[in-house]
Every structure is written in C-alpha cells, then in structure tokens.
Amino acid sequence: MGGYGLYVWGSFGCGLAVLAWNALSPRLARRALMRQMTESE
C-alpha cells in the first residue's frame, strides 16, 4: 500500500467493523426479544 497501509487497512477494518455490528446487532436483538416473549407467555 505504498506506506499508506496503516491508514488504508485501518479504514477498511473500521468499515468492516461497522458492517458487522450493523448486521449482527438486529439479529442478536431479535433472538433476545423472542426469548423474552416466549418466557413471558
């Protein structure tokens, strides 16, 4: 990356982290919600 590796890989790493958080958090929330609702029934 011609000396810019830290910045370029850092950016893409942050991008991946944001994508992963966005993809996973609703999934985990759904699971928790389902568990909570079945317990309350």
């Binding site: 910045y7 950016s11 942050c14 609703p26 759904r30 609702m37 079945t38």
Partner: protein, 249 residues
C-alpha cells in the same frame, strides 16, 4: 379510495413484517456481493492515484459512509414527518430503526475521514468544513437516540424524536452553510487541497458498486431493525403469537 387500500395493507404491521421477511435477504445478499466487488477491486485492482498514491483507496469506505450519513438523516426526518402528520405507526418505528444505523455510518465517515486526513493533510483532525459538519451530524443523531432512550412510552418517544429529526433536518443546510462560511474566513491556511483525481473507469466502477452496496446494506439493516421494533410494539397480538408459534416448530 380503493386505490389506497394497498397502502393501508402495506402499512399494517403484520403484512409489512412479512414483506420485510421476503425482501431483506435479497437486499442483504445483493449488498454483500456489491460491497465485496467494490472493496476487493478498490483495494487490489484499481490503479493507484498519481497524486495520492494508495491512500486514495480510503475513498471506497469513506464516500459511501458519508453519503449514507446524510441520506439516512434525511430519511429519518421524512419518516418523522410522516409519523407526525399521518400518525403512522410504521413510520415511527422506521425513524427509530434508522437512527443507530445512520449514527454508525456517520462515525465511520468521520473515522475514515481522519485516517485519510493524516497522510493527506498531515493531521488526523483538521477543522475542515465537511469533517466539521459531519461531526455536528453525529451529535444530531446522538440527540435523537438519547431522546428515544429517555422516554418510557414508545409512542411519546417516537413523536418527540420525530419532532427533533424534522427540526434537525432544517438545521442541516444551515450548519453546512455556516461551516462553509466559517472555513472561508481564514484563507491563509495551507491545507493541502484534496486533489480531485480524474477518475478512470477502473476506479469509478468499484466506487459506484460500494456506494450502491452500502445503500442496500443500510436498507437490509433498517428492515431487520424495523421488524424488531414491530415485534416489540405488537407483542401479545394475534399475529406475533402466530409468528412465534411458527418459529418454535
């Protein structure tokens, strides 16, 4: 009036939930494919910029995030407006679903802007017009999220957030203009201007793909979050019970 029945049917929580269930996987997979194409090509196969060398590759993360940050705020305000005027529950849930997604992409735009700024400007943070307005935008998102979390009643919370989002979106162009003016006041600064690279097709296609991919990805996440909001709000109603019965089998 019959032409409106489709709209009412769509806006009813159970049918929207089912529609989202069908739509979300498509959005998600197409987004993933586009993002993979855009980022892998951007990282490895696009030619290097003659001025910024490899550092310009941050564009493939930064530009989609920055574009999304503003679009999602506008989208949130539109949902807020609909929620206020037509008292539509679905729009209330949409507003709440968009806020954290928008905030995360705004934060990403800021961080990648800083990582790009270090090699190009020589400093992580420069009081540049665009970076500064992005920072204000992040605080506007935090305001909506903070307000939402402070309320106990979800309907009152959603309507308060809707008002804040609508006022905030009027404020966004004012912030943009003021920051531009503020930045032009001291012209002596020797900020290295980001050279506008004459973009070739090999650079442009991956960028195009990653922008579209990010938008579809945001659409996917918002649909999933919206579904959760609907489940939470409609807990105990017949359709949610039916749905849970199915998921247990």
């Amino acid at each position: 009036m019959s032409s409106w029945t489709w709209f009412h049917r769509l806006a009813s929580p159970p049918s929207f939930f089912r529609l989202a269930d069908r739509l979300a996987p498509w959005l998600g997979w197409i987004a993933l494919a586009l993002l993979a194409y855009g980022w892998i090509n951007g990282l490895f196969f696009a030619p290097e910029d003659y001025q910024q060398k490899d550092a310009y590759r941050i564009i493939y993360v930064h530009v989609p995030a920055a574009a999304l940050s503003l679009s999602l705020y506008v989208g949130m305000a539109v949902a807020g407006f609909v929620a206020l005027v037509w008292r539509m529950k679905l729009a209330e849930s949409a507003l709440i679903a968009i806020a954290p997604v928008g905030a995360s992409f705004t934060a990403l735009a800021l961080v990648t802007g800083m990582l790009w700024g270090k090699p190009m400007w020589g400093a992580y943070w420069v009081w540049d017009a665009r970076l500064t307005s992005e920072l204000v935008l992040l605080f506007l998102y935090f305001g909506v999220i903070g307000l939402w979390q402070a309320f106990e009643d979800p309907r009152a919370a959603a309507r308060a957030c809707a008002l804040l989002a609508v006022v905030g979106v009027i404020n966004v162009p004012i912030v943009k203009y003021s920051v531009d003016w503020w930045n032009s006041l001291h012209q002596g600064s020797t900020i290295l201007k980001m050279g506008k690279p004459s973009i070739t097709a090999a650079m442009a296609w991956p960028l195009f793909a990653s922008v579209i991919g990010s938008y579809l990805f945001a659409g996917y996440v918002i649909l999933r979050r919206l579904q959760n909001e609907l489940l939470q709000r409609e807990a105990g109603t017949a359709w949610v019970r039916e749905l849970m019965g199915k998921s247990r089998v």
